[in-house]
């Protein structure tokens, strides 16, 4: 299906500002996003704020694409939070730490809607 990329997650300033405010629009707008390099955006044919679907062997989510210089080609960055974590691996390789960075992923343009945090949580309750 999609283009093969390497997924990393991490903190951002706005994500930090909304740590106590995770059910808000500000948090959603910041965290349900995916930063890509310009060339990768073009390759996917996705414009800024266009939706992309990211998929790993652990799950898939729809997030908003954001162009970000400084991100190398083939790397995508999703701020730490429920959307990134739907994709990361829980295999800690005997060290207790999930792999939040460096996960093989596939990405593609999509028309699908993004899930708000409450709806995202519901997907775990099936």
């Amino acid at each position: 299906m999609g283009t093969k990329v390497n997924l990393i997650s991490g903190r951002t300033i706005v994500q930090g500002q909304n740590l106590d405010n995770k059910l808000s629009e500000e948090y959603f707008n910041e965290v349900a996003t995916c930063e890509l390099n310009k060339a990768d955006m073009e390759r996917l044919g996705v414009a800024a704020d266009g939706h992309v679907k990211v998929k790993t062997s652990f799950g898939e989510v729809v997030v908003k694409a954001k162009e970000k210089g400084g991100t190398p080609e083939g790397i995508i960055f999703i701020p730490m939070g429920p959307w990134a974590n739907a994709l990361v691996s829980g295999n800690t390789h005997g060290a207790g730490m999930p792999q939040y960075k460096g996960i093989d992923a596939e990405i593609e343009k999509t028309e699908e809607e993004m899930l708000h945090v409450k709806d995202l949580m519901k997907t775990y309750m099936k």
Partner: protein, 434 residues
């Protein structure tokens, strides 16, 4: 209006303690000085969980503190493999009660280091940690290296208060006579400030550290022309800067611990520091995330002997991250009940863990509604430590600082809630014993 000085920030591991706020009508109305934008946001406050609640037929129904605490105690007392997790965004006084409760019910007690700098702890247990307090860096460091860390986003005051930009005794001109090296996969905001930016290939940290070590020890001839996406020339230049520094400092972040190699990346970072120490003064420090994650590691260590992932099911401590750590316990579906305090697994744990949490009873203690609230069965709101409650915390360099109370509240403090649960659990056990 009252002005309060020397306010201590309860957000990140920087624990800035020179903040000035204004309080009016029992509310923080202004952050005048000292806090970064993230800390400021925290101090100004957000929407709260309004009442204790218990889930009934899928929906949370408000109840009294007493009822919520009783219910929490019943769940925990009955559990065969309970997990008590969080403890990093609250004060040590609450953490101590947490350890006692874990002993009482034979639980696993784990903290957010587990998904943050737990690998750093494993590394320290392998090779130790040559480090110092942040003031040492401020006064002396002329070379600062951020490795897999982006303080511009995660610890916004770090460079200004303690490292690259700060001014101290031998560094009175600030960054003018210092060098900054940044190692990262992305060209981050921090990387843009660097004198040298080493853009490393994802997952290759371990190899690059080993190459640096070999070079620092004088075996550059065996190192190939490129390692982990960095040219030998750039590596040699970095090594030269390290050797020439009077006081070198490495700060490392999740870029090292969250990626392939995990704790062993940190072992290698520490080994690199030790190799550099054969030439000059060199130290290293993890960029601890939560304001008191260092503190729960301290409390847990002096009380149980071990810093996180402590399994007390047999009545003594068994420590084995990778087995007794939260992610493993949840992904492997070992737990039959969980208590989360001052943390949000719904947002920060891998999806696989949340899937299991939705199937077992979950207790949440937090000031704010968050993704975890969506599946918690008992929700207990609490006072905000550092705003509504005081107590001890440990900064990322393990310096203890006391959080101040700025305003009054009717919410119970974490310590009181935990004591309530412990008492109820003991009452249940006593009854069972009869």
């Amino acid at each position: 209006m009252v002005e309060i000085t020397d306010v201590v920030c309860s957000l990140c591991g920087c624990v800035c303690d020179d903040i000035v706020v204004e309080v009016e009508d029992n509310k923080v109305t202004k952050v005048k000085k000292g806090a970064c934008s993230v800390g400021k946001s925290k101090l100004m406050g957000h929407g709260r969980i309004e009442s204790p609640a218990i889930r009934d037929n899928g929906t949370l129904k408000n109840c009294s503190y007493d009822d919520a605490i009783k219910k929490a105690a019943e769940i925990l007392a009955a559990a065969r493999r309970p997990l008590l997790y969080g403890w990093s965004s609250t004060v040590c006084e609450a953490d101590k009660v947490g350890v006692e409760l874990a002993e009482e019910i034979g639980a696993v007690i784990d903290n957010t280091a587990s998904v943050c700098h737990g690998p750093s702890v494993l590394a320290i247990q392998d090779v130790g940690l040559p480090s110092c307090t942040l003031g040492q860096v401020k006064n002396r460091a002329d070379l600062v290296i951020y490795w897999g860390a982006n303080p511009a986003a995660a610890h916004a005051n770090h460079m200004k208060r303690y490292s690259y930009i700060s001014k101290g005794y031998w560094t009175e001109e600030g960054k003018k006579n210092k060098k900054l090296v940044v190692v990262d996969v992305r060209r981050t905001a921090t990387a843009k400030m660097a004198d040298v930016f080493l853009q490393i290939e994802q997952g290759k940290d371990y190899l690059v550290f080993s190459a640096l070590r070999a070079m620092l020890l004088g075996y550059e001839d065996v190192v190939p022309e490129e390692v982990g996406g960095i040219s030998k020339k750039d590596l040699l230049e970095t090594v030269r800067m390290m050797k020439e520094a009077k006081f070198g400092m490495i700060f490392f972040g999740m870029g090292a611990t969250h990626t392939r190699g995990r704790h062993n990346n940190v072992v290698n970072a520490i080994q690199t520091t030790r190799a550099a120490h054969t030439h000059t003064k060199f130290s290293i420090m993890p960029m601890r995330g939560h304001y008191n994650v260092a503190g729960i590691n301290q409390v847990c260590t002096w009380e149980t002997g071990f810093p996180f992932a402590v399994d007390l099911s047999r009545g003594y401590a068994w420590y084995n991250p990778g087995e007794t750590s939260s992610t493993d316990l949840l992904v492997r579906r070992e737990c039959d009940a969980a208590l989360f305090i001052a943390t949000d697994p719904g947002a920060h744990f891998p999806g696989e863990s949340i899937r299991h949490l939705s199937k077992i009873p979950v207790i949440q203690i937090d000031p704010f509604p968050n993704p975890t609230t969506e599946f918690a069965d008992v929700v207990i709101p609490c006072a905000i430590s550092g705003v509504e409650a005081e107590g001890n915390v440990y900064r990322m360099d393990n310096i203890p600082i006391r959080l101040r109370k700025l305003v009054d509240t009717e919410y119970m403090a974490d310590e009181e809630i935990m004591k309530g649960i412990l008492e109820e659990v003991r009452a249940i056990k006593e009854k069972e014993g009869e």
